[in-house]
Each structure stands twice: as structure tokens, then as C-alpha cells.
Symmetry: D2
């Protein structure tokens, strides 16, 4: 039995992805609607100045900060697979999360969680051994931050196994993404992969939390065991969806809280 009521959910969003003179996203707007921030660490996006600014923004809005490491590939924004050995991968992650904790300590904030980015996120969903190695190294180095990853049937099973080792997995769903019958994200190449209508996205978010599931692209019911919803803030529609989601959550008595309260 989960320790939290079924009506408590975290909302996470990727942030701090600007770089030097380059601006991306509407961090100052979307941060008003979330409880956990996944903050880029300088390999696939961001730089030390953006990291410091984003940590301060979290402090101002009382949003819990998490590290969001990716492949060392600025040009590809971390979206291209790079074939690295296990120890190389772990060292790249330790480096990025360590760098991030420097700014957290400068502003007296804890490291709530770690969420991998892009192609690295996708890769670790497919490799249980690597996932365990990475989560174990993060626990050893950073005092057991929550490890945030994709909510699937397989990950729910892993979550229980990892808990016995003292590792906390948090699982996320995407209200603006369509799912396959197997409970995987429908790849972006499909026309129906990403929902744009704010009202529909907000309605799906409510259902994911209250009914613990969602209908797939073929209208099959997929059960979900999720701790957090991932939202986006890069365009007007996504911010509008976030706003409506919070409104509906209030009406439906769904409480919003950071991962630390949920896991």
C-alpha cells in the first residue's frame, strides 16, 4: 500500500535549458504550476550561469530542484544516442549531478531527485542493469535522491525491487502524450503522438491521477502506477494546459506535492 493518498501527485517539468546568449522555454511562467524542476546540467543544454539562475528561481517559487543530466552533446541537445561504456556513463552523470549540487549548496537547497534527459533517459529505460548501476552510484554519491523515470508496467516491478535496496524510483506519466497498447509512449513520428488541446490534456491528467490509468491509442485501458506528471512549458498551449490542469485538480480535490512527500 502506498503511503500517500491516491489524490496526491507531483508535477515535474524540464527547466534551465537556455545556454549562453540562447533562450529556450518560459521557465518564469511554467514554474508557477509545478512542484519539481528537472534542471539541465551543462552537457546537453545549460551552462553554469543558467544553472545558478534556475536554482534561484526554484528557491523563489519553493519548487523542489532535481538534476537533469544528459549526453555530452550540445548540438544534438542530448537527443542522439552515444555508445558509452557503463563506467563512462556513470562518471558523466556523477560529474553533472555533482556540478549541480554546487549551486544547490550555494543557495542552501537539497537535491530532491535526478531525471535523465533525452536519449539517455530513453536508453536507461531499456537497460535494467545500467539503471541499477546508475541509481546505486547516485545513492552512494548524493545521499539517495529520488530517481525519476518513465512509468511502465516493467518500471513498476523494478520500483518494488529497487525499494528493497534502498533506492527510490519515482514514475512519471505524460498527460500530453498518447500511449501504445503496451503502455509505452507512442513515438513522436506518429501524428497523434502529442496532444495540443489544453482542455484535453488537463482532463487526461485528472484521469491518470484519479483512475490510475489512461486509454491507449486503440482505446485499451492501461493501468498506471505513477508518482508524478511531466508537463512542458515551451509554448503557449502547454502553459495553458498547465494552468487548466491545476484548476481541475483543485475542483477534483487532487493535492499537489513534491516527490519527497509522495515516495
Amino acid at each position: 500500500m502506498p503511503k500517500h493518498s491516491k489524490n496526491l501527485i507531483d508535477i515535474n517539468c524540464d527547466m534551465g535549458e537556455s545556454f549562453g546568449a540562447y533562450q529556450i522555454g518560459n521557465d518564469e511562467e511554467i514554474i508557477r504550476y509545478i512542484t519539481s524542476a528537472n534542471i539541465a546540467c551543462g552537457f546537453h543544454a545549460s551552462d553554469p550561469n543558467v544553472m545558478e539562475r534556475t536554482v534561484k528561481l526554484c528557491k523563489l517559487h519553493r519548487v523542489m530542484p532535481g538534476a537533469h543530466p544528459g549526453y555530452r552533446d550540445l548540438i544534438g541537445f542530448g537527443r542522439r544516442f552515444l555508445d558509452m561504456k557503463a563506467d563512462e556513463l556513470i562518471n558523466d552523470i556523477i560529474y553533472q549531478v555533482g556540478a549541480f549540487t554546487g549551486f544547490l549548496k550555494l543557495h542552501d537547497l537539497p537535491l530532491q531527485h535526478v531525471k535523465l534527459h533525452g536519449a539517455l533517459y530513453n536508453y536507461l529505460v531499456t537497460d535494467e542493469d545500467m539503471l541499477l548501476s546508475v541509481a546505486t552510484a547516485l545513492k552512494k554519491a548524493f545521499g539517495n535522491p529520488v530517481f525519476l523515470t518513465l512509468g511502465t508496467a516493467k518500471m513498476s516491478r523494478l520500483k518494488r525491487g529497487f525499494r528493497k535496496r534502498g533506492i527510490r524510483l519515482a514514475l512519471e506519466a505524460f498527460p500530453d502524450r498518447m500511449y501504445t497498447d503496451d503502455g509505452e509512449l507512442l513515438p513522436r513520428k506518429h501524428q497523434e503522438a502529442v496532444l495540443k488541446d489544453p482542455d484535453a490534456i488537463a482532463a487526461r491528467a485528472v484521469r491518470m491521477v484519479k483512475e490510475k490509468g489512461i486509454h491507449s491509442i486503440n482505446n485499451h485501458w492501461i493501468e498506471m502506477d505513477i508518482d508524478t506528471l511531466c508537463i512542458h512549458g515551451d509554448n503557449f498551449e502547454s502553459i495553458e494546459a498547465a494552468r487548466m490542469m491545476r484548476e481541475k485538480f483543485k475542483k477534483e480535490h487532487i493535492e499537489i506535492g513534491p516527490l519527497a512527500k509522495i515516495l
Copy 2:
């Protein structure tokens, strides 16, 4: 009155400067003669894999680890001045030291000190305000590591001022470098700038520690208030100098200890 006897000294050396397929230095050899290691953090040299290896090497040899951040300039090895604003500079340093602490925590080691590298080291020797800003930020973020910098008359004065603010400066001398009459390092463009004879280097090291001073290029006596000697390990002569220094220290009853014991 210093809390340590005049015959206790730390020996520090830059390490972990290899990068990817590129090897530099003889870390496994020189580490046998030192008490404090200045470990590159990936901006001017090193990478996450080299950093992890070097931290493990310190643990094996019970050498105290320090972060050695530099300008983000791999091609120039951090030896070229880059005109950065104060906040950019501090953020680059926090990022690098933070990344380094990730590996320290992975291997359960403390951060003893921070020493800047190359052109960044040289620049901060000339700018007291920036030095104070950097040292203050490091204290805030990393629990007051020792800040290792060049031993000069001006720095001795700063050391006392910083101590009142709770910041620990450690000052270093270079037994293999010639000094000007003002107690500055004779620039490398001068023929006599760098000593090569291991015996002469070792003899100068003893004098620096026991007599608290050294003769300048023009044979003037320069007083020194130093906590640590910086040695090099990149060629056969420098390693031989290190070996002879340790031998002479033993004969002269000079004790070797890490900065933490000295400051």
C-alpha cells in the same frame, strides 16, 4: 603565532591532467611524494573518467584531494586569460568544484582544498576583491575548503584578513622556480626562471621551510610565510627532485603533513 611548528610542511602537486586518450604526467609516481593533490576538473584538462581515477589514486595513497579548476579552454590548457565577469567566473568555479565533489563523495573522501589553475590562478593573485568573492562563494557552497594560492607579502597580509572572515588561505612556494626581488615568480621567459637540478631544488625546499625565506635572482633575501611547497611530476628530473626533497626533509627533521593539519 602559527599553530604548527615551523618544521611541518605540506607538499602539493597538480594531478589528473590527462584527457580521453591523452596521457600527461606521472601521477602514479609523483603521488608517492606528496600530501595534497590539486586535481583538474574538466575545463582546462581532465574528464570525468580521469577525475574518478585520480580520486581513487588519492584514496589509495592517503593523499588529501583538492579541486583544481581553470578557465574553460582545453586547447589552451587554461593558460590563456579569458575576460569573464565576476559572476561568470564564480559560477564556472562552483560548477567545476561541485563536479569534483561528486567523485569525492562516491569514494567517501573530503574536499581538503581548492587551488585555481594557470591563467585563472595568476589573475586572482592580482585581484583581491575577486579573490574574496571566490573564496566566500566556495565557503558557502563547500563547507570551507582551504584556498591555496601564491605565497607573497601581499598574500600573507590577506591571509590574516581572510582568517577573521573564517576563510582559510594556504600559501605556497615553488622550490624549482626563481623569485624576483619583490618576491614574485620570475616569469618563465627568463632563462633562469625554472631550476632543473634535483639537488639544488631539494636544498631550496629545505631552506624555504627551515629559514622561512629564499634568495632572489639578485641574491636578496625574501621572507616567506608558507604552508605548502608546490612540486611538479611531469619529467624525470622533477620526480628525482621530489625524492631527494623527501630524503633531505627526513634528515633535517622536517615533518610532512596535509594542509588540514597545518592551517
Copy 3:
């Protein structure tokens, strides 16, 4: 006596400064108003994909392409001085311009000119010897592209000297920038440094071309010997200024042509 009539002018603009997932500028809009494009080469901005796209855009609009190399400093957008030796600087420029010519040849376009970027542009304005070394190397490697730099009294003098060596300097003025009494650009920290009013900018452009000069911040008349006007395209006002400038030029019978026709 210049070989072109006093009513022929080139209009240049920095372009192709996007990077990976990051978009900057309105290249597709501003390119309609210019005759020469300064295209970033991947060190301070841009990447190979952006370079290829921008070269194709020039071809489509029959705008003459030039290389726009800068310091290797993506985070600082090439705006921070980096202390490089002469040969290092020249090699970095040859590398970038060479890379750029790869895309030109892929699309069968000539290299019209080279204009340095940001802190590198500013630095070479102050160092005649370095300017000559760079221009000489570019001539040797790339068949004598025009070298575009700041129009000042000193540069007009240099222009004549360089012409004897077979090097073509082109001088530019900034209709949206205020000038000091010495004919230098008023630094951006001054409130009046940058003009925003499209109508005023367009009027200044006409005066610069027809009257060969402009009034300084203190209302002194500064003579100008210019071949090209530099405009910007990063906001609505600057594009509106470009549009109005072209309109006024038409009324005033000022002809627009690429540098190759002017020098």
C-alpha cells in the same frame, strides 16, 4: 577617387547564429533587405547544420556570403576577450573560414568577404600588425576575400596602405549606433549608444551614404569613408528600420550593391 559612385552602398548583417535546438534572429526576414551576409562559423555561434542552411538561404536570395569567425567561446557568444598568440589566432580563423568555404563549394557560391565577430572584431581594430597578419593569411588561403571592418579615420588610412599590398578592406558604419567625437562607436553602457526608432535609423543611413558623415553624440560632424552599412535583424524594430531604409534609399536614388561591386 573611389571607383563607385557616391550613391552605391552595400548592406551587411550578421546571420546564421542559431545553434542546435537554439534559434536566434530572423534570418529569413532580414535577408530580404541586405546584400552581404556575415555567417557565423561554429566557434562563437552556429553549427555545421545551421551553416549549410544559411548558405542555402543566401543562394535563394542572391545575397553574397561572407565568413564571420569569432573566438572559440560558445557560452560567451564570442563577446569575451581571449588572450591568444598571433599564430593561434590566425589558425583559428583559417579553420573557421575553411570550414565555411566547404559549404560554399557544396552550393557553388564564392566567398565574398570575411568579417570578424564580437571581441575578436574589437581586438583587431586596435592592433594594426595583427590585422595585417590576419588579412595576409586570408588572402593566401582564400584567394583574397574582402576584409570587412569598422570605418574610422585610422581604418581609412590603413585601407589605402593595404590596397598597395593587394588586400581589400571594406569599411562599415552602424546607422543604429551613436558615435563619439573621435568617430568611435559609443560603448553600449551609455544610454544613448543604440538607436531604436526605425525612422531615425533610416534617416541616419541616408545621411551616412549621401553626406559621407554623421553627427556625433556632441553634435560634431564626423566624416565617414564607408563601403557598407551594418544592420541588425534580431527584433521587430530593427527589421522595420531595414525596411524603411530600403524605402528611403529608393527615393534618394541610392543604389544597393554587394561589396564586390563597390571595392
Copy 4:
């Protein structure tokens, strides 16, 4: 019928892989034994200063220069696969080869050939369509340099097909590498993959040229249709092997010549 006698062969070697303060290889030694140099272009190794030095070294020794582009992965030395789209890959190659031609033109040398590096070399051996796309773009941009790749049965077939399109493939064999029965390189993880004995390597080189084949790991005879031998210069044994190879070639009346004379 090949236009060259069966006793004419090119010898190629990777060079110019140093980077900033980091030295790799013995370029000044190995260059005495080769006719074609594959010169790194700054993405997986090298920098603009090393490139310029290496081009000058080629000129001094009358060795024909070729570009040696790789993945943008300095830490991995270009040995890790990066999943790039076709146009991204082509643009990265055009950029690197273009940059290299800048130094060639500065020193008045032609671009003889292009050879891909590491994981990029391996990847294009497996993807005919990509190979054709890359070779076609190189022809368009750089006036038809020879494209140097691995000699296998499949590549011999491709070589004939490409010739009809006006693209020149040159095929290489590795005298210090063991081959599988299928004529592929035995992967390095096998103990017998790399030969170390200079005498054996030199003998295999002679056989490859005179008998147009070599025995595989299981003693099967593999036919070879090769234009060039790839040798290494990173250790004493490999340089000794190169020296002995040249000696044996002289005795056996095998002539050495650059690719341009052979294809």
C-alpha cells in the same frame, strides 16, 4: 585492368592527433616511411595549430595530405558511435574537411584524399547508401578527392560501381591486423587481433602487395584488391615495422607511390 603495375602501393598513416598541450604519436618519425597522411580535423582529435603544423610536415616530407574527419567526441577520441542523421553527418564531414583545406591552401597543397576515423569509419563500411551520399557530397564540395576505406570483397564491388559515377574509392589493408575468414578485421578484443612483431608485419605487407591476399586467422586464403597499406606510428615496434617494410619492399622491387598515381 588496373592502370598501375601490381608492384605499386601507397602507404598511409593517421597523423596530427595531438591536441593542445597533449602529444600523441611520433609524426616526425613515421612520416619518413609513408606516402599518404590522414590528418585529424579537430572533432575527435587535433586543433587548428596541430593541423597547421602537420600540413607543414607533409610539405617538408613530400607526403600527400588527406583529411581524417571523425565524430565530434574529443573525450572518446571518435571511437564511440553517435547516432546522427544523414544530413548532420554529411555537414559535420564537410565542415571538418573544409577547415582542413584552409590549411592546405595556406601552404599551397592539394587535398589528395579523405579517410573517415574510428567509429565513423566503421559505421560507413556497413552503410552503402550513406557511403555514397558522403562521397558524393565530398566530390561536389572538394573537387573529387580519393575516398579511402576498408578493403573487403563488398568494397571492391562498390569501388567499380562508384567509378562509374566518377567517385574514386581507394581500398586499404592492415599488415598488423589479423583477418577473419570473411576478410573482415578480427575485432580487437581477440588476443590475436593485432600483430606486434615488426618482421612478421613487414612480411605480411609484402605478401599483401605481391600475392594480392593474405591468410586469415583460420589459415584460409583471402583475396585482396588493395591500393594502400595502413600502418601505425604510435610505438617503437610500429615504427620499426614501417622501416623493415620499406626495406623489404626495396628488395622485392615493390614501388611506393601516392594514391593519386595508383587510382
